[in-house]
Symmetry: C2
Subunit: 491 residues, 2 copies
């Protein structure tokens, strides 16, 4: 999902100055409270070469009391360090109570650089992820707040920055041969990074991807994330100590940068639509028999904005299929029996057997969409859900299941047009309720939830496909294309 | 550590009847409270064939309200089940709120039978452990209480039971060819079981090994464990709901069955001692150079009863060694700086580099020994520590470190003799304090803590060696033997 992120976001100088001043004051205040409560904080900065780690770390620490933090730079392990297990040099540098340690690169070097360089066996990669998970869980259980930033720039931007640095004599030295070598393998690092984000994102040590093309935008995002996280930790620590604290609040809405980049004007003409639809439907019909013969399990998830056209899209997917080979599973609010189990239970009940295709019309993602926004579950529960969902999908994938997830997106105006049409046309009126209008008012909250979902649950083993759905024809063909290609690749 | 467990423990019929009646009443009461609070409970029974799973499950469920539980038997997966990921059939059978599900064999089949039968690749074994950990964590996070029993009998006992069953025509059918085949590979299963215990023991889903030679002993142990666990869950759930509940109490002291079996009369004569000591010390001296040349890291841990002779033993280990190659790290109570970090931090600071040997005189095990018994840390903290320690040692081992741990044990009478001697002899008087006498009074609490430590932290990658230390000479040679052999095997 990283390459889908909108990196063009900018903050104007004037706006920047104002918000930053305000945030800096809060930052100083929060640090004092955290010190008072004895909270240790570990901040990790990872990201591309030339993404501006140094500058951004500086921005973050300037407003802090210098007695309260240190910055630890992680280079190649020294000779001393290489003679010890890889976590040793990080364990020994973990923050004491009331202290902040900022890691300029970190233990993730192991699963990025060392992995891409081919220094690790497959078993060692698995072990490294296990070790990192245990390390962060142990610290978090002990009360350490862990904040992890990944500074993201595109390959093109990286190239541009390297070129600029090399032009001037005073900065030329900053671009090393290794940097240029790594730039060539940007794609390999991208894959490793996405694996890392998926494997080590947890409720107690979540990743924040920072769009780092615009320094001001990145600075503010880092400030806000830092402040939100510390505020929650302070509230929780204060609760534990029986002190009064401000009531927990919904985290600040973040700009939905994955969605803002997509091109909703994508469309198909009727003739092309008809032709491609027919062709793909026939291909899928044949593939479904292969799925059965080769005992391949397939799980397809439909999620999307209200009125994005899920139903019609899904019908086009299944129209030509042998009904013995697939099942459509509509998901509504859980019933009493379902409520009395873990929220994933009812989806487990429905998982297809090998050789079958299950299509979920809405899904377990309700937890981090509607249940999150409407507060049907606690914040703790939805924060935990990203990891639980990734684990479930990984389990499916380990078994050999093809997992495909579609997010159908329409623009806000288009939604309004469709809502009104539904009200106007008698045969569509049943489709629109008061609730739809209420949800629409929460557009930006939903957008933030969708953004976070796409970013944190798009994995190598279960990727999301964003389907631009202003044009229904385009959307239907895109889903069919994706399904046919993914399944063909696996047969 | 499984083969070290004392399986000879018996309960007399009279005592049994009385305690069981009392426990059954409490069981019924607790079930009603758990129902009231909506607590789901998952109970796992694993163990050797013929260990008496059926009988013991029956004992447990008889006092329960039959509307509140079901028993799920786990056989070979059915055709339907085999077509889905291995956790599917367990996810779908997880208990609803207020319900108890007893699993007669369980998801652990994957890492026992299927693993030993060679159906899994190494990667699949690692994945299976990951999947199981995630599964149990997800249930526990959702409020499910997980209780796991492993019913343990020796190979000899198993053989005896099979023979008895085969003698009678009415029971002959119960011993299958597969059973006998598995009996032959008892050793392989033992290894797989120890791995399983080490990899999947957690604070939220701990294992209890049940000595199952004597049905009455096993029944009472299962009852007590079940009751303790549910009581803790009820107290915690009640706290969350803001209800008053009885204050948390130390878990009932369990019989220290690992320790009760060891033969403290083991001894050496002076002449043999001298000869073997000298020989081993010289061997170790040479090995230490090899350790350096081959860059092998070695960690040795000394723990033991007060006055068990740790100091003298350790001196004999290092007497002939080149001081540049090893370091002795005495561990006392943590200082302020150390207290301001995770409790493992100060040990991480001291980990030896490759090519060196670090000998810890007392260690991170303080957390689950003295800190547990003296309540220097919270119950939550020491319960978490078993897993944290296993993870740390596994990390060391993945790096290639040889980790050896010695528990020096003396009898209670012998301790008294040594304490008195220390008081009598002026040059030994500094060794004895009021605290030693106080600790001695808590002998059985310490014994229970040691038992649990040995059982839960003796792993393939970092095994415990119990050193019978009533005879100091014997103890010193045993440690040297073990160290020399373990290191030789790795060079």
């Amino acid at each position: 999902m990283l390459e889908k992120i909108d990196l063009s976001q900018k903050v104007r100088k004037k706006d920047y100055k104002k918000e930053k001043d305000e945030l800096e004051v809060r930052l100083g205040l929060l640090q004092r409270q955290a010190v008072d409560l004895g909270i240790p904080v570990a901040v990790v900065f990872e990201g591309w070469d030339a993404a501006g780690k140094g500058t951004l770390i500086n921005e973050l620490i300037l407003p802090l009391d210098p007695r309260g933090f240190t910055v630890q730079s992680t280079f190649e392990p020294t000779e001393e360090e290489a003679l010890r297990p890889f976590l040793w040099r990080f364990w020994t540098r973990t923050p004491a109570r009331s202290k902040i340690v900022v890691f300029d690169r970190s233990w993730y070097r192991r699963v990025l650089q060392e992995r891409v360089d081919g220094h690790l066996s497959r078993t060692q990669v698995v072990q490294a992820f296990d070790d990192i998970q245990a390390f962060e869980r142990q610290l978090a259980d002990d009360g350490t707040v862990i904040i992890k930033f990944f500074l993201h720039i595109s390959k093109k931007e990286q190239k541009k920055r390297f070129e600029k640095l090399r032009k001037s004599r005073s900065t030329r030295w900053r671009v090393t041969k290794d940097d240029l070598e790594r730039h060539k393998h940007y794609g390999d690092y991208l894959t490793a990074t996405e694996d890392m984000l998926a494997e080590t994102d947890s409720e107690y040590a979540p990743w924040t991807v920072v769009e780092a093309h615009d320094r001001r935008f990145a600075t503010l995002k880092i400030f806000r994330t830092f402040i939100d996280t510390i505020e929650r930790a302070i509230a929780s620590a204060a609760r534990k100590k029986g002190r009064k604290s401000a009531p927990g609040r919904q985290p600040r809405t973040k700009k939905a940068s994955v969605l803002s980049k997509i091109d909703l004007s994508k469309a198909l003409e009727r003739a092309e639509y008809r032709e491609r639809l027919k062709e793909r439907q026939e291909q899928l019909r044949e593939l479904l028999y292969d799925i059965y013969r080769k005992r391949l399990p397939v799980v397809i998830v439909y999620e999307g904005s209200d009125a994005a056209g899920k139903g019609g899209n899904l019908r086009r997917l299944t129209q030509e299929l042998d009904p013995r080979g697939y099942e459509v599973i509509p998901i509504a609010a859980p019933n009493d029996l379902e409520k009395s189990h873990h929220y994933l239970w009812r989806f487990w009940m429905q998982m297809p057997k090998a050789g079958h295709m299950a299509i979920f019309d809405r899904s377990w993602y309700g937890r981090i969409l509607v249940e999150r926004v409407e507060e049907f579950c606690s914040e703790k529960e939805w924060r935990r859900a990203y990891r639980e969902i990734n684990e479930m999908e990984q389990h499916l994938s380990n078994f050999g299941t093809v997992v495909l997830k579609f997010w159908l997106q329409i623009g806000r105006d288009e939604q309004l047009r469709r809502f009104k049409e539904r009200e106007r046309l008698p045969h569509k009126r049943w489709k629109i309720t008061e609730e739809d209008w209420r949800n629409r008012k929460k557009w930006s909250q939903y957008e933030a939830a969708v953004h976070e979902m796409l970013l944190r649950t798009s994995t190598r083993w279960a990727p999301w496909t964003i389907v631009e759905s202003n044009c229904k024809w385009y959307a239907r063909v895109k889903v069919l294309d994706t399904v046919v290609e993914a399944i063909s690749a696996r047969l």
